[in-house]
Every structure is written in C-alpha cells, then in structure tokens.
C-alpha cells in the first residue's frame, strides 16, 4: 500500500558517507591530521553487516550511477521523501565509526558524523531529522556526545547497533540510557553486528543471507538483555525502537520470554512485571522489513498477537530493498491501524517530532514549496 496520502513519518532512512574524506571538515584539527596521516580517509568504514552493493541493501531502481546508495541527498529526497510525501524522515547512519576498537578514534569520528549530518543533510531539508551516532565502546564518551548533540532539536534519538561487545542491557551501558532518558531521547537499536561474536552460539555462518536472517534472533537476545538486566526498571521512561528488526517474529518471541520469566524470575527479582507488559509500554518496532507471511489472514493474526496498536512505526529502510514501487506499507493492515503506524505512533515515540508538529500547527509554518514543514 502507498502511504503518501497520510504524509507519513519515515523512521528509518540511511544516508551513506561516500568516504571518510567527507567528514574531514567536521573533525577537530588533531583528528583531521591523524586520519590523513594514517590514510584512513579513502575508505568509508562500511559495516560488514551491510555490504552496500548487496542487492538487499540497494533497491535496483534506487541505485545511483556512482557512489554508495544513500550518499546523494537529491536522490534520497526524490526516491523516499517526495515519493512517500513524508512529513519527517529520520536519518540513521550505519557506519563502522560506531564500533571501532579505539574509543578515542570512534568518538572523534562519531562526533564528525553528527556534525556532518547536521550541516550536509538537516540544514538542507527541513523534513529531515537524525539519530545521534555514538561511540558505543565508551558509554561515558557516548553520553557526552548525546548531551552535546541534544542541544540541536533535530536530533531525535540515540542510535546503537544491536550486537556489539556485550549485550546491551549490561550495566556498563547504563550511562547511555541515563542520559537518553534525562533528555527524552528514545534509544534506536538498529540491526547490525560488530562481529565480535558469531551471530549465534553455533558459530560463524558462510553466507550474508544467513547473517541477515539471524539478525532477528540477535534482536531477541538484545531485548532479553535489556529486560533481564532491569534497564526498564531503572529507566522506566526510556523508549527503545527496534529498527530493521523484522516484525513477524515478535509474538513467538514474547511468548518465549514470558514463559522463561514465569519459570526463573527469582534469578532477577527486580523483574516484577511480565516482560510482554513492559515491552508493550517501552518498545517499538519499525515496519521494514516486515517479513510478511503468505496470506493477509496470517498478517491479521500476527498483528493481533503483537497485541498493541502503539508498537509499530512506519519505515521505508531506504535504500534497502524490501518492497517495490510505492508499496511501503505491508498488505493486510487494518485501516484503523494504518494512520497510527504512519503518523500517530512515531509522534508518540519521538517527543521532539511531536514538538515540531505542534509548533507547525500553532504557527502554520509552510515551506517555500507550499508543503507543510516543521
């Protein structure tokens, strides 16, 4: 289904950094010299979780003539924002800067990325918003970067990859969650692995197909960690958005963690509430990929099993290839749910978007092209 009549909010767009050279103007002087001396500027720190030219990661008709897909603002505007008439689009940078072993280099590059995205993207299209890229190896430095970026209201969430060094619920990460909760920023957890551990306890796969499919189970492990370690007990107002996680695996996942909780919750006595209850309050999922079943009746059952009309947030996952044409909304969604997914749920999840929306309705701001802009 084409979402454009609703002027949706697109919660997952991927801008690409052409090469690290593009970041040089946005780095502190020491790091600019450091990176050029080591010759690092020619690469773009592409993640092995997202090889840019794999068919899955670039829809054929969205492939640019040169450079990685997502590197050209004009194309992103034309392919995604204009086609789907999105009122807002949230940019999520997937880049190796997030997972470098050197905390210092990682922090310097993440800061450069955040400055770059503000200057080269957010300043050029008022529909765009961005997630804050953080050096996850150092929760302290990550929290500092969150605080610095948050002054710019166009940064609407913090971005983490789902599988890094330690499961994301571990207490070492709590400075990140403390800062995010304080500033009212959701934590966006995006598919992707630092490949510090095999995708499962059974070892390393051969094919990219397998790695990608297993990402859904990676999210299960990550979410179990957040729940079990007590992140939502300590930070009850924190919202977590699972991005590019797939959707249809979720009901069976909730049944499993509920059942485990019933059996062994004495191990983690701070978990006083049923996991599914906490999840429905604090966790959201983006809609692409949806991993649709074969029939519309099955879609209906899965949505009933998810059991909340507040959990799903619209995304295109541009420029990744999960649908063709303008069919960005999975078939079979009940009409009353569609507007919630496309507009209401993102506004509820991202307070900074809601503030923009409010300002716009109060002051009737419109852009030069007559489109409603924040």
């Amino acid at each position: 289904m084409d979402p454009s009549p609703f002027q949706p909010i697109d919660c997952d767009l991927h801008p690409a950094i052409p090469t690290t050279r593009a970041l040089l103007p946005y780095l502190d002087a020491y790091w600019r010299e450091h990176i050029t001396r080591r010759g690092l500027e020619a690469d773009n720190l592409e993640l092995s979780s997202f090889p840019a030219n794999a068919p899955l990661n670039c829809r054929p008709d969205w492939r640019p003539e040169r450079g990685p897909a997502g590197a050209d603002l004009a194309l992103l505007q034309r392919h995604a924002l204009d086609t789907f008439q999105s009122r807002y689009g949230i940019l999520n940078v997937l880049n190796g800067a997030q997972i470098l072993h050197s905390e210092d280099l990682s922090a310097a590059l993440c800061r450069g990325i955040n400055r770059w995205i503000a200057a080269e993207w957010l300043d050029r299209d008022p529909r765009l918003r961005a997630s804050i890229t953080v050096p996850v190896r150092s929760p302290e430095l990550a929290a500092e970067e969150i605080e610095r970026c948050a002054e710019d209201k166009r940064f609407v969430q913090v971005l983490l990859l789902s599988q890094t060094e330690m499961p994301l619920g571990r207490r070492q990460y709590w400075p990140v969650y403390r800062m995010a909760e304080k500033l009212g920023l959701p934590i966006g957890i995006h598919a992707g692995s630092a490949q510090l551990h095999p995708p499962s306890a059974t070892g390393w796969f051969s094919y990219y197909l397998e790695d990608y499919v297993q990402q859904a189970q990676g999210f299960a492990g990550t979410l179990n960690s957040l729940l079990t370690e007590g992140v939502f007990v300590k930070f009850p107002k924190l919202k977590v958005v699972l991005i590019e996680s797939g959707v249809t695996w979720f009901p069976a996942y909730m049944w499993r963690i509920n059942k485990t909780w019933r059996g062994v919750r004495a191990e983690t006595p701070w978990q006083e509430r049923m996991p599914s209850e906490v999840i429905r309050e604090n966790v959201r999922l983006t809609t692409q990929p949806f991993d649709a079943p074969d029939t519309v009746a099955q879609v209906k059952t899965i949505l009933e099993e998810i059991g909340s009309d507040r959990m799903l947030l619209f995304s295109t996952d541009y420029p990744h290839w999960h649908f063709d044409g303008a069919d960005a909304v999975p078939e079979g969604l009940p009409p009353e749910l569609i507007r919630k997914i496309l507009v209401d749920n993102p506004l509820e999840t991202y307070p900074r978007l809601a503030q923009s929306e409010l300002a716009q309705s109060e002051f009737g701001l419109t852009g030069a092209d007559g489109r409603r802009t924040p």
């Binding site: 599988q163 499919v213 059991g307």
Partner: protein, 370 residues
C-alpha cells in the same frame, strides 16, 4: 515448573495422550564411574585424572546455574535413594513410562561430555561408552526406550565409524548431534557426518544445550540463565538457517532433522524471513532450487517442549497449522525443571486427529517404529 503427584492414577477424561511417544527423555548416571566398564583402560585413567575438557571456564559446573539442584531437575524427580533424577529406571518408569503408558521414549543422554570434548580421541571413546551404557542401563531393561547415537562431531572418522557401527541396531533411533558446535551444522566440514546419517537412514536429533565456547548470543555473553534459556531458540533458528542455506538438503534429499528442546512457535516467522530475504539474495546461494521454507517443510520436525504458551491460548492452533500438523512431535524433557506434562502442555483443546499425529503418528513415521 510441573509438579507430578506420585499417585499414578490418571484423570479418565484426559486420556487421549496415553500411549504417546516421548521425543525427549534424559537418562542419567548414579555415578560417573558407571561409564568405566565401557571405556578402554587408557581412557578410564584419563577420565579419572585430567577428565573432560570443554570450552568454558568452569570445569564441571555450568556458567549459568539453574534454579533447582542437579542442574535444573524437577524437584520431585529425585529417586527415593537420593540418586540423580533420570538415573533410576524403575523410578522413571513410575513417573513417566508406566504412568502415561509411553509407547516409546527417545533418549537424549546429555552425559559423559563426549560431544563437546576438546580431546577428540577421548571424546570419541566417551561417545562409544555412553552408547553402550544407554543400552545396558536403559534400552535393554526397558525396550520402550530408544537410544540416540552419541558422537564427537570434531572427530569425523570416529563419528562416522560409530554411526555405521550402530546403524543396524534398532535399539538406536537416531544420531544426536551437539548443536552448539564450533561452526554451524550446515557448514561443509560436517557434511561427511551428515552423509553417514542419511546413508544409514538415521534421523539427526539436535538437542539444545551446552556450549562450544561461543557467546550465547550474537551480542555477547549474557549474564543470566534467564537469558541463556531463551537463547536456545536463537541457536535453533541459526541451525535451521544454516542447514537450509548451505544446501544440505539439496545434497542429502533424504536427511531428516529433529529439533529438540527449542520450542517451535518461532519456526513460521523464521520461514517467512528466510523466504523474503532469499528473494533479494538468491544469487548468493544459487544451489538452492526452491524456497527456503520448502526445505524446512520437507526435512525438519520439531518437538514441543518447552512448549510456547501464547497469551491467547487459541493462537497455538494457528501456530501448529502454519508449521504443519505432520511436523510436530510431543516431548516431555523428563526430568528437567521445565518439562511438559502431556496432560496439560497444550492450553487449548486440539482436534483429535491433530492429537493423534502430534502425540503418536508423526514420531512413528519419522523413526520408522512399527
């Protein structure tokens, strides 16, 4: 946790499960010295001195302590003499086999450490010993119990020899491969062992548990058993993905794989995700000649425990339908803490013909029981 009353009387209104086939029963030893009579002298000495060497920091205990003694046993399954649950055949008969008139019980012996042993010659010797021990202690005294051939998967030559040696022996029903191996089971290094299973018409059972030294999740080492236990599902999904995407079932069209102790409700969504992702990435796996989900439907069976409990109980029915009623087989996991009771596992009434298949007919067909 299920609690079974020792009164062997059964409610007459719920007897349709009687005579079922239990696809996951755990035998245990009263003392590890029980294996010695089946070990060559050299390995007896080794077992007593250096002992097992696995890929974890604790020599004997689990890094994820269970919530009940004996590495997570049912509290009422300790035999009257105080020996380990599962180690006393008459007590197992009383609590499980006779109580429910079990037609066949498929043994999953998680003992001896053969599967994960780093000294592969010792591992192979322990596998042989545990195989002989199963027969002597359980299968011969009670022919309802069917053995599972243990192997050390890193010792290819010995593993194949063991499979071939046991192949004609109908006291064994399947080959038990440790699913948390060093590499995913579909990788080509393991194909000769899978070929031996297929050639001898022995289903492969993948029983979750243990470790090959990798973190339980792709995101790293988890803190709690509360996370370790559901990570079995994540490992099981990885195994299905590996077996399908590596082309194992193209190579071995008669290979049967039984998933044990990973639940099952996750399987339909995994199939949808496999199919949808494969559409974009077909070129990477050109040897797959059909949709990934079709291989699953042809080659993979699931056992029920630890059974999922949907929030709306009737969702169990659609889940079973999506997997295929002919692919699901009942298991209790006796005597573990989270075992399922055949009377109460399904929280929603199943149609009679589904029950017959799930509790009985499917396993009869998979294992060729008569």
């Amino acid at each position: 946790m299920n609690v079974t009353l020792l009164n062997p009387q059964i409610e007459t209104s719920q007897q349709s499960h009687l005579g079922f086939i239990d696809c996951d029963v755990h035998p245990y030893f009263k003392s590890p010295a029980e294996f010695d009579e089946f070990l060559p002298r050299k390995w007896r000495a080794h077992r007593a001195s250096i002992g097992g060497r696995t890929r974890q920091g604790l020599a004997k205990a689990s890094n994820y302590p269970r919530m009940s003694p004996g590495t997570g046993q049912r509290m009422d399954a300790w035999p009257p003499d105080g020996s380990h649950p599962g180690s006393d055949l008459p007590f197992m008969q009383l609590q499980l086999l006779d109580k429910f008139n079990v037609a066949y019980g498929l043994l999953a012996p998680l003992v001896g450490g053969a599967a994960a042993e780093r000294n592969i010659d010792f591992g192979a010797a322990m596998a042989t010993a545990v195989n002989d021990w199963q027969l002597a202690r359980f299968c011969d005294p009670d022919p309802r119990l069917k053995g599972a051939v243990q192997i050390n998967i890193e010792h290819e030559k010995a593993a194949i020899a063991e499979i071939e040696a046991r192949a004609g022996d109908r006291r064994f029903a399947q080959v038990n491969i440790p699913p948390r191996s060093i590499e995913p089971l579909g990788r080509r290094r393991y194909w000769p062992i899978l070929e031996a299973c297929a050639a001898n018409n022995l289903p492969v059972s993948l029983h979750l548990g243990g470790t090959a030294g990798h973190a339980s999740t792709g995101g790293g080492v988890v803190s709690f058993y509360h996370e370790e236990h559901p990570s079995y599902v994540q490992s099981m999904a990885a195994l299905v993905t590996s077996l399908v995407c590596e082309g194992v079932f193209e190579h071995l069209p008669n290979l049967k794989v039984v998933l044990v102790e990973g639940g099952f409700a996750w399987l339909p969504a995994l199939c949808w995700r496999l199919d949808n992702t494969w559409k974009a990435l077909k070129a990477e796996v050109p040897f797959l000649r059909q949709k990934p989900s079709e291989y699953v439907r042809q080659h993979i069976w699931v056992t029920t425990q630890p059974i999922e409990e949907p929030e709306r109980p009737a969702d169990m029915l659609s889940t079973l339908e999506w997997i295929g009623i002919d692919r699901v087989m009942f298991s209790t996991d006796y005597p573990h803490w989270d075992q399922d009771d055949p009377r109460f596992a399904f929280k929603v009434p199943l149609p009679e013909d589904w029950k017959r298949k799930i509790y009985h007919d499917n396993a009869m067909a998979v294992y060729g029981f008569e």
